[in-house]
């Protein structure tokens, strides 16, 4: 068919594919020559908007428990992130200085000299969504993306590579990285090819129809023990999990928003007024910042400077949580002091902020 341009400027006869790839670009089209009403509904409905990142604290900006290096297994370090069960590793916050990377913070995962149960460590980093945020993606395709770099291209002992992993669970909020999950490994960076500059990767998975929980994890595929702690490391940031098969740009949320999301799983007490119920114990209640995922574990976070009485100088020596009727909505706790305070039943007490932590992580 011949291409015709009639007297009023209408072009006809152009076949499908008649304009080869690359022949229509930003220079060909005048500014605003394509308006929003000309974007087909089928395309517009696939555009992503708002709250696309299912991962909380994927930019590693929130560290309520502290930013220093912590070695452990199954302990949470950066909010919502843990080594995972049995996997020894050091976790710490580092600054991202590469201006080409759109992040300010990252998680550094360091090697450990401590063996895990099966005499090694995979230097894991893991997080898991709870069921109420996972189930809607059953049967759908999701894409995990992240930025990572390593301390060297070749790491002694890390012989079989490093990979990302998406895990699916068919039970509601199981123990983190419990048995019985369906796990899909991907990315698989071989030893010798570990990038030493920030590099973005992605992994796409179609979830099973019965999926109830989604988790993401990063780790070496073989067990490693280094002579001393921190002999080598990898750093990771910009972790995003979103619906669809395309990794879009990272969804940056404000620090306040991200902190609020994290506090569903971990928070400290505010400054709170209580009442002495005996010479060595006082009781108090307060609401949580938000309803927590589950009734939390309560832990004394230090052994000094815990509470004050009338005197502004403070009074130290709380030793245990001796009574705990806490719910997911708020705390109802009696604290016992190892020292005799001399206070009487009914006297007021004042508990300093951050004396207690509340943990409802998965």
């Amino acid at each position: 068919m011949a291409i015709t341009i009639n007297g009023s400027g209408t072009v006809t006869g152009l076949s499908v594919g008649g304009l080869p790839d690359g022949t229509v670009d930003s220079g060909t089209l005048a500014t605003d020559s394509v308006t929003a009403v000309k974007i087909p509904d089928t395309v517009e409905s696939s555009l992503k908007s708002g709250r696309k990142n299912l991962i909380i604290n994927g930019g590693f900006d929130v560290w309520q428990r502290g930013t220093g290096r912590v070695f452990g297994s199954n302990t949470y370090t950066s909010d919502r992130w843990t080594e995972g069960q049995y996997q020894q590793a050091g976790h710490e916050k580092v600054a991202v200085t590469d201006t080409a990377v759109p992040f300010k913070s990252a998680m550094r995962v360091t090697s450990s000299s401590t063996a895990e149960v099966s005499s090694g460590t995979r230097m894991a980093l893991a997080t898991m969504l709870e069921s109420v945020d996972s189930e809607r993606y059953a049967g759908k395709t999701v894409t995990l993306s992240f930025w990572v770099r390593f301390s060297a291209a070749t790491l002694a002992g890390a012989t079989t590579g490093w990979y990302s992993q998406l895990s699916e669970y068919d039970s509601v909020d199981p123990v983190l990285y419990a048995t019985g999950a369906t796990r899909t490994n991907s990315v698989n960076i071989p030893n010798g090819s570990y990038p030493t500059t920030w590099t973005k990767y992605e992994q796409t998975v179609t979830c099973g129809a019965g999926m109830k929980n989604l988790g993401a994890r990063f780790l070496f595929s073989n067990q490693i023990n280094t002579t001393s702690n921190s002999d080598f490391w990898y750093e990771i940031t910009g972790v995003q999990l979103e619906e669809g098969s395309v990794a879009t740009d990272f969804e940056h949320r404000s620090y306040g928003e991200e902190l609020a999301l994290c506090q569903r799983y971990f928070q400290y007490n505010p400054r709170v007024l209580g009442v002495w119920t005996s010479i060595s114990a006082f009781r108090f209640t307060h609401s949580f910042t938000c309803k927590m995922r589950a009734t939390p574990t309560v832990t004394l976070t230090g052994l000094t400077d815990y509470h004050e009485l009338y005197n502004s100088a403070g009074y130290n020596g709380l030793s245990s949580v001796s009574y705990n009727q806490t719910s997911s909505f708020g705390a109802d706790i009696k604290l016992t002091s190892s020292a005799t305070s001399g206070r009487l039943y009914g006297d007021p007490s004042l508990l300093n902020q951050t004396a207690l932590s509340y943990d409802a992580e998965l």
Binding site: G84, Q85, Y86, V117, S118, D173, V175, L176, Y177, A178, T179, A181, T277, S278, I279, R293, A294, T295, P296, T297, V298, T299, L300, S319, S320, V321, S322, Y323, N324, Q325, T326, I333, K334, R343, L344, Y345, G346, D347, D359, A360, E361, L362
Partner: protein, 120 residues
């Protein structure tokens, strides 16, 4: 090692954390796992406290609160109040602490859980 506290909350002795009886709490899940693997020998029952005279004198039936004391010192009843408390709770009450048995629910709940194996 664990110890039961008032209202059946569970104290983890390694860090003094207080764990609620909450099926969705990961520390409670771990507690049940540990009991299933190691048995009840890792759990101590709650303290049963017989209060001594100090606790009784400073407790709910003892000395008036600090605020009430100001009024007593004004109206002249303070000395009589002190004497009354000391009479009701003499120093011969020395109190003591015993350990209760671990209640049956601990083993019953541990028996229900599925053991989690090491994940590779």
């Amino acid at each position: 090692m664990y110890k039961l506290n008032e209202h059946n909350s569970i104290q983890r002795l390694s860090d003094n954390a207080s764990i609620p009886q909450e099926p969705q709490n990961r520390d409670y899940q771990q507690f049940l796992q540990d009991v299933k693997v190691n048995g009840l020998t890792i759990v101590e029952g709650a303290d049963v406290i017989e209060p001594d005279y100090v606790a009784l004198r400073t407790g709910v039936d003892g000395y008036a609160s600090t605020g009430e004391q100001f009024g007593m010192q004004t109206d002249g009843t303070w000395d009589a109040h002190i004497a009354d408390v000391k009479t009701r709770f003499p120093k011969t009450i020395t109190g003591g602490t015993t350990i209760a048995d671990v209640p049956a629910w601990v083993q019953e709940e541990a028996d229900k859980v599925e053991l989690q194996q090491e994940y590779i």
